[in-house]
């Protein structure tokens, strides 16, 4: 993921500047934002929902909101603002789905980004098993803990940003991340036994 800074050259304008152009319905700026953020957003949704198609659908919904919005303020960090949209969309999605447990669908190799092509078959099998256990354990976490854990581990966000996204004090994020990790550890132990 690319977290832009204000010092970037005009070839790589910061997200905040692009967003200001999107407010004026600049299609090129919007396309650039989509290109930068589609991968992190889709993966954010996938890690929470376990369904590739639904993850892409929700990411698209976020981009539609980005295009249509009139409320963006340049003082806010774009990543925080974007994840806040994504977070609320996910909360709405879960509310509409009731308390249906998350089930990660098996992935085809084409959908995966395989980290080490040199890994042997045994290693790959072990990786797949670990992945499966992790996904199952992650799905059992309380919704807010899961969201906070994913945001802190994968999205390169500061705790203060996460607190802003989720709408809780910074200290609460610190506690929730630790609890989530503890719960995940306990669940993994149960699964491996």
């Amino acid at each position: 993921m690319t977290n832009s800074t204000p010092n970037q050259s005009s070839l790589h304008p910061p997200d905040e500047a692009l967003m200001l152009q999107v407010l004026e319905k600049n299609q090129q700026a919007f396309n650039l934002l989509v290109k930068r953020w589609k991968h992190p957003l889709v993966n954010y949704f996938y890690r929470q929902l376990g369904e590739v198609e639904r993850a892409e659908e929700l990411a698209q919904e976020v981009f539609v909101k980005v295009w249509k919005t009139k409320k963006y303020q340049a003082q806010a960090r774009f990543s925080t603002w974007l994840y806040r949209l994504a977070y609320h969309l996910l909360v709405d999605h879960w509310r509409s789905q009731g308390r249906r447990p998350t089930q990660f669908e098996p992935l085809e190799d084409t959908a995966l980004e395989l980290p080490s092509p040199a890994a042997g078959p045994e290693q790959l099998a072990l990786q797949a098993e670990t992945r499966q256990h992790l996904q199952t354990a992650l799905a059992t976490l309380p919704v807010q803990q899961r969201q906070i854990l994913v945001l802190s581990k994968f999205e390169d966000l500061k705790y203060s940003q996460i607190a802003e996204i989720v709408g809780c004090p910074d200290n609460q994020v610190k506690v929730q991340v630790f609890r989530a990790v503890q719960n995940l550890g306990k669940k993994l132990k149960e699964l491996i036994r």
Partner: protein, 153 residues
């Protein structure tokens, strides 16, 4: 102060790992014997590391094309609403008249036999005092005409 009191809390170590900024506390965990003997902290660190095994998916090739067709669809539905707005602008006068008529129309509470149909309920009377036409007089005149006609049979 004992050595363990100098050790950062597990929550703080996870924060340092997540934000990738406080390398001192991360290094501390690797070198501190006390921290290395805390099962709670070590378990948390292993889980944190294990999370890297979670898969990262590739976005499908037609993602952007689908997004653009979705935006076009949204814009066209927005345009339909715009057209409706134009019609509403055109029709706002008759609509306003209808709303006013509804406001003034109020069924009387009296039974039909005792109803004085020329009398409006107090609310409308109050509103009508501000009207330039003296409706009371006009209604009185109509009442007189009716009475004369009923006398004639």
């Amino acid at each position: 102060m004992s050595a363990s009191e100098n050790c950062p809390a597990p929550e703080a170590i996870l924060k340092a790992l997540a934000e990738k900024n406080n390398q001192a506390s991360v290094e501390h965990v690797h070198t501190c014997l006390i921290c290395q003997q805390k099962p709670e902290l070590q378990a948390a660190l292993s889980v944190w590391q294990l999370l890297d095994a979670l898969p990262e998916i590739q976005v499908s090739g037609d993602f952007e094309a689908r997004l653009h067709s979705r935006l076009v669809k949204e814009q066209s539905s927005q345009l339909r609403w715009l057209q409706f707005d134009i019609w509403f602008d055109f029709l706002h006068i008759p609509a306003l008249v209808a709303v006013l008529a509804l406001l003034f129309w109020q069924p009387l509470e009296l039974p039909a036999t005792q109803a004085q149909h020329w009398r409006r309920p107090p609310k409308t009377e109050r509103i009508q005092t501000s009207f330039p036409v003296k409706t009371e007089q006009a209604l009185g005149l109509i009442q007189k005409i009716y009475q004369q006609r009923s006398k004639k049979g």
